[in-house]
Subunit: 447 residues, 2 copies
């Protein structure tokens, strides 16, 4: 009886969520306290450790929290009610909780950003994003061709190279935002430029992925559809940010109509949620872009003042789930399953090095060019380095649509893991010792 | 491309969650401010209104949030990663968020309960629970036989009657806990007895359901397996409550080892989560029993003092989702689809009246018998009245396992909706005007 009930499934899921929460918090605590590296690396590694490809895959975990327990039919069969819940519902629900964490993280990042600063730095941010896209894309495509995974005889044969390039353009604003929050530098000049550039990077990067997938699907791509995509993407976040800024105080006052406990909090979060899903569903952008833009729009309102504390509390629960779930998606053993191990390992090494060098240089050099100095260029270049969930998702789109094989997919994962793990370490070093929260913006290396 | 991505699915789900959150809060606000009834009725009705059988089923909502949008294959196909996510994953994930709300609600209720009072009133609570089980079970079975939906010629033919009886024994401690929290009476003598009785009721009611399902499955049921079930069920919550009470301060101190933001909160919630899922998975009890018992065990600790505010915040977001999702499961039109409308409508009326009378009298009379007086008997009887999610789940177990048909299932839903809607109205009246939070326990009707 119980094996078939929705409640039993929910209980399984709650056990898994509990394991994830505790593992993430223990991992984060060890990382921060004993290894002196940002908590998110501990959370990510905890995810790799308890994930299906490590501890989560062995029998012991089947007992404590049966991650892959076969789930029978259950609940009502009426199409409207709650129909059969097959096995994938559980990993999806865990993934979804992680996504809520990502959305909340970027919403909070937007809320805590100084909007005037953000808009003031939009031009250097665009330069950073463009530099951080062109170099990784070009060299990523070239190295894929060099290793023989693609050639440029025809557009079809070049697709894998273009896709690897597209994966390398990704920037995970979530990872950097978390690191900068941890060291209280989210509102520094570098922080604002990095966040703004990551938004622009995501918009342009996703357009790039859409174009490559479009070419693969149709054999070609029309100029009109590309133009439409670009207009939609850029229009959305410019529009949301600008219109949002104008209406923010009105929206903020509207939510004050509600008197019952927690209503203001619910409505603030809902605004972030809606912007996130509208960005994804109707504009083909990432959810985190929508959440960040809405946070930015509401950053100078009373609504923010009323809710930011509770939103930080919520983030402290959900964000570690996000990083832990990312870690659980990593399968490092897959690289040994390849038929052509030596070449693949070399390719993985080359792609990772190119991913690091082209992003740090490509994003950093435009900053130097406009006169921000060497230290800021270095910090901003590093801030754009982590690929995080964005590259994982892009790689998965490529694998699922048959553009790249399992070998290149694995390489993309290795590159993502390495950049995501090393970037925070160098970022923390580049920014110097931890600053007291909200104590001035001027960068300093003094101890 | 986007129609196949996990992120797109997550975005759809976030839109739905946003619609649920806003609808629940608007419904709750209207109920409380304009109709002067508890917020949860507004939340429940908002759920019925936006549910798949009303607005959520028409085309308009398919655009805003495509509740039944066909979902293609996506993500990795490796068994470990995130495999295909078919359509049911979305309703399940929404249901799961609601379940987190229910667990949090009962964990909070446990935390805010005065443990010494709870244990002091465990005997009247047991009397209340027994009275509230025997009468509804007996008369529920009788009326089902009377209307010809079952007969007592053989044990197999009597099963539907026994099952209707079992459904009627349910008590939704969640609904009553919320009402009493809303009117600041959760820690009154009546409140403590109701909560304790609902826990006992749930333990005994679930044993009853397990026995009926066991008879259906095997044609008979052995005395040994029934005894084992009862020992497990009662042993679990007595054990958790008592051992938990002894170890609570040690657990509380252990969680203080963590220094990073939100760790204490995460660990407190995780303790409630683990107790909830262990109750469901390993002891065949309801999750909410586990959560309540753990909350009770931790109610006098520093951990509670540190986290209760944030847990209330979390509850104010998730609990309305729970009630709204319950509302979304209600399909009032189903009663008109019956072949034998007149008889079914009469049966529904009879079952509902019996559900009300037997529960209020059955739970109230033992209270009167031990000398608590008429007013307290009336309040406690009413507090045990709402069936809420417990009856819905029990009815669903019956339908899914073929014990009851769609007709009796619909009747059970009508009974659940009516008792769940009327109980809070009468409860609020019975308890008199709203008391300022934490201002004495003595009941009063003075304005």
């Amino acid at each position: 009886m119980h094996g078939e009930s929705l409640l039993y499934l929910s209980a399984e899921l709650i056990i898994m969520l509990s394991v994830i929460l505790v593992a993430a918090k223990v991992g984060g605590e060890i990382a921060e306290r004993y290894l002196k590296i940002p908590a998110l690396i501990g959370e990510l590694c905890a995810g790799i450790l308890i994930g299906p490809h490590a501890l989560g895959g062995i029998r012991f975990f089947d007992l404590a929290g049966p991650m892959f327990h076969e789930v029978g039919k259950l609940a009502t069969d009426a199409s409207g009610h709650l129909p059969e819940v097959p096995e994938p519902a559980i990993p999806f629900a865990l993934y979804f909780v992680g996504q809520l964490g990502a959305v909340l993280l970027l919403f909070e990042a937007g809320l805590e950003t100084d909007r005037k600063r953000f808009l003031r730095f939009i031009r250097p941010a665009t330069a950073v994003a463009l530099g951080g896209i062109i170099f990784p894309f070009g060299l990523g495509a070239l190295v894929t061709w060099w290793f023989g995974y693609a050639n440029f005889n025809s557009i079809q044969e070049a697709i894998p190279a273009l896709f690897v390039g597209a994966i390398l353009t990704a920037t995970s604003v979530g990872i950097t935002a978390r690191v900068l929050t941890d060291i209280s530098r989210l509102d520094s000049i570098e922080g604002v430029i990095i966040l703004a550039a990551a938004v622009v990077d995501d918009v342009l990067g996703i357009v790039l992925v859409a174009i490559v997938v479009g070419i693969e699907a149709e054999g070609s791509v029309s100029g009109g559809s590309v133009a439409l995509l670009i207009v939609k993407a850029i229009g959305f976040w410019l529009g949301l940010t600008l219109i949002g800024s104008i209406l923010a105080n009105r929206i903020s006052r509207m939510t004050m109509w509600f008197k019952s406990d927690g209503s203001t909090l619910v409505l603030a979060i809902t605004l972030g949620f809606i912007a996130a899903s509208v960005a994804e569903i109707y504009f083909g952008l990432a959810m985190i872009i929508g959440a960040f833009s809405m946070g930015l729009a509401l950053s100078a309102t009373l609504l923010k003042e009323y809710t930011i504390f509770a939103i930080r509390n919520g983030g402290s629960i959900l964000v570690p789930v996000f990083f832990c779930v990312i870690g659980m998606q990593v399968d490092l053993t897959a690289i040994w399953e390849s038929d052509n191990l030596g070449r693949l390992a070399l390719f993985a090494f080359a792609v990772t090095v190119i991913a690091i060098v082209t992003k740090v240089a490509g994003a950093g050099l435009p900053v130097m060019a406009v006169g921000y100095g060497k230290q800021r260029s270095w910090r901003i270049g590093l801030g754009m380095l982590p690929r995080g969930e964005v590259a994982l998702i892009v790689a998965e789109i490529g694998r699922a649509s048959g553009i790249i094989g399992r070998d290149i997919f694995t390489v993309a994962i290795v590159m993502t893991v390495v950049t995501t793990i090393i970037a925070p370490i160098f970022l923390v070093k580049a920014f110097g010792p931890r600053q007291p929260r909200r104590q001035g913006h001027a960068p300093t290396n003094a101890h």
